[in-house]
């Protein structure tokens, strides 16, 4: 067990920011040693259902550094949400099955821990934001109850200290009149406000990592922009690492430092965000960029990707993207490509780059 208590937390001793919370405005120099907050190594997860056994996640490796946002990007069914839930060991087992790999949170392998140990990480060291703000809050409990819960469990706060902390958290997420609204129920909030409540739950115990699974997909454009801004500010203030799961490149552009592109349960390309946008190497990444109607640069045409993504129950030899790839070679259908480093922080899984 890691012995981090809130009282000895150095960030509490920093000067107070405009929200009145004891976070130091230190951004990068956050009081922890170097090295990634989260390191996922060769993660494999399968699902067994009536349709058979499918590899939803098939050897995924990536890391998230302190103060950084890693975007995990892909189309629906590519396994990105499964990755998010497996990190927290929240996948229902069965049907899901952990087939191998390691999930190292500050060096500790979550996969090797028992349920009790993992639970002490959830909500305390790793916060979570789900896609649908309408269903991720419990409709029968008020906001105070739901925001206070992790504080009670992990920090043992009670009484007025607890109430104060809840209000502070809500204020941090810019919820107007938090003292009054804490007593309201989820159905009395708009979608954007609910997602802010979910955000304050995720932040409540000052976690080192936040996993955000499509946090703004259900929100309107202008509300989405507000929310992303808020997340970025909080990251700059606290140095929290964010694993952002999304299918939307405009979200990626606004939020991420680095991007991992997923296809059919594997990561096909990892690179810094500029590289992904300006110089993508994998044919899938290239095709995806060409298929998005770009409102900034008028190209006059769209190039769709033929066919549709494979189901996890389809077995394939070789590269999973081969059937849809415009530059496919014979070898791609026979053998899966290994990962190659094209540059620092730029890895690709494609025979073109071997």
């Amino acid at each position: 067990m890691r012995g981090k208590q809130s009282s000895s937390n150095p960030i509490c001793d920093g000067h107070r920011d405009e929200f009145g919370v004891g976070y130091a405005m230190q951004g990068i120099g956050y009081a922890m040693g170097p090295g990634p907050v989260l390191k996922v190594e060769d993660l494999r997860v399968s699902f067994s259902t009536r349709r058979g056994v499918g590899m939803a996640v098939n050897g995924v490796s990536f890391e998230v550094k302190k103060g950084e946002t890693l975007g995990l990007v892909g189309e629906s069914g590519c396994g990105k949400s499964t990755v998010a839930l497996s990190i927290m060991k929240l996948l229902p087992r069965p049907p899901a099955k952990f087939e191998g790999g390691r999930v190292l949170f500050e060096g500790e392998d979550l996969m090797a821990m028992d349920e009790e140990e993992v639970r002490s990480y959830r909500g305390r060291h790793i916060g979570m934001i789900f896609q649908d703000p309408m269903s991720s809050l419990n409709p029968v409990y008020n906001i105070n109850f739901q925001v206070a819960e992790p504080l009670r469990i992990h920090q043992g706060l009670r009484g007025s200290a607890l109430v104060d902390q809840v209000v502070t958290l809500l204020r941090r997420m810019r919820i107007p009149a938090p003292e009054n609204r804490a007593r309201d129920y989820p159905h009395q909030f708009s979608g954007g406000m609910r997602q802010r409540v979910v955000g304050s739950i995720a932040l409540s115990c000052e976690p080192e990592l936040i996993i955000a699974d499509e946090p703004t997909t259900a929100l309107d454009a202008t509300i989405q922009a507000q929310y992303l801004n808020l997340l970025r500010e909080l990251q700059e203030d606290t140095g929290v690492a964010i694993l952002l799961i999304t299918h939307d490149f405009s979200v990626v552009a606004k939020m991420c430092h680095r991007v991992a592109v997923m296809y059919a349960g594997t990561i096909v390309e990892t690179a810094e965000v500029e590289t992904i946008f300006n110089n993508p190497a994998h044919p899938y990444t290239q095709a995806l960029m060409a298929a998005v109607p770009d409102i900034a640069a008028w190209k006059g045409h769209l190039s769709p990707i033929d066919g549709s993504p494979p189901s996890i129950y389809e077995t394939h030899r070789g590269c999973p993207f081969a059937p849809r790839c415009a530059v496919v070679q014979d070898r791609c259908r026979e053998e899966a490509p290994p990962e190659t480093q094209r540059a620092k922080e730029h890895g690709v899984r494609c025979w073109l780059h071997v």
Partner: protein, 300 residues
């Protein structure tokens, strides 16, 4: 062509209708299905199976024990009752009564309830409101009491029981169908049918009804056992199938007086009811999980 929109393949070929039906039955719970088939066969071929007339008091061999009990003989496999009638033969004929009442009364209720539910759901208005108020009242009321009063009033008979139980069991369907219609009528495909110029009648028949049918079948499967139990209760109270007809419920009522000495006249009819109702419930549960996990507790 200047713009490409990607090639597109055919979906995978699917199994034929007969193959699907076979696969469907293969996945059904075996034991309940088997038991139901046995009940149905017994109901249909009763006269060939039963060695006695169910109302035949024969040689007044009263309370003869079943053959597997000391003093029993193979002449009366499950013994005789207080009038010397063969229990097995009465059970066999009772199956027919239970099944006919269960199926016909349920069909009647389903038909009535579906019609009213469609009206209430699609057209709404004050008629719809009125229907739903009646449904609320019916769902809350002790139906058995009402059935009892009505059955006695009309005069206990086979037709009365069917009529009363049929009329009193429509409310569940009406509620179910109305709820589903309210959801369906705002679905895109119904809007598109309106846009295509379909009449309300065509929309109901072509677009709404087919999507409600599976839920109705599920509910009906779960309602048949309810009706069978209600008939047994009515007959037990003397307001159901009039004697000397062999209703399982009245067999229990008659056997009750002698249950300490001739337990078989009470035990076997009860087992027969429980077996039938249990299998129907299991089958209905399975169908519901398969077709309509949303229905819960629309039946009792």
């Amino acid at each position: 062509m200047a713009v490409s929109e990607g090639a597109i393949g055919l979906p995978r070929p699917q199994a034929s209708r007969a193959q699907k039906a076979l696969a469907f039955l293969r996945r059904a719970p075996h034991l309940p299905l088997l038991i139901l088939v046995v009940y149905a066969l017994v109901a249909v071929f009763g006269p060939w199976l039963a060695s006695y007339d169910p109302t035949d008091i024969g040689d007044m061999n009263r309370h003869a024990p079943p053959m597997f009990v000391a003093g029993g003989s193979s002449a009366h496999v499950l013994g005789t009752d207080h009038l010397g009638r063969d229990v097995f033969s009465r059970l066999v004929y009772g199956a027919r009564i239970s099944l006919i009442i269960g199926v016909t009364a349920t069909t009647m209720g389903a038909f009535l309830g579906t019609t009213l539910g469609l009206i209430a759901g699609y057209f709404g208005g004050w008629v719809g409101n009125l229907i739903m108020r009646v449904v609320d009242a019916m769902l809350a009321f002790p139906v058995l009491l009402l059935a009892l009063v009505l059955a006695v009033t009309i005069g206990p008979s086979f037709a009365t029981v069917i009529l009363v139980l049929g009329i009193l069991s429509w409310s569940g369907y009406a509620r179910l169908v109305r709820g589903q219609v309210l959801t369906l009528r705002n679905k895109e495909f119904v809007l598109l049918a309106q846009i295509a110029g379909c009449s309300p009648w065509r929309i109901i028949v072509q677009h709404i009804l087919p999507n409600v049918v599976s839920s109705i079948i599920v509910l009906a499967t779960l309602q048949i056992p309810g009706v069978i139990l209600a008939e047994a209760s009515l007959s037990f109270l003397g307001a159901g199938i009039p004697p000397p007809n062999p209703s399982w419920g009245s067999m229990i009522a008659q056997g009750r007086t002698y249950v300490t000495t001739a337990w078989w006249t009470t035990l076997f009819p009860g087992v027969a009811i429980a077996g039938l109702v249990l299998s129907l419930n299991l089958l209905g549960d399975w169908l519901r999980d398969l077709w309509d996990p949303r229905i819960q507790g629309a039946h009792r």
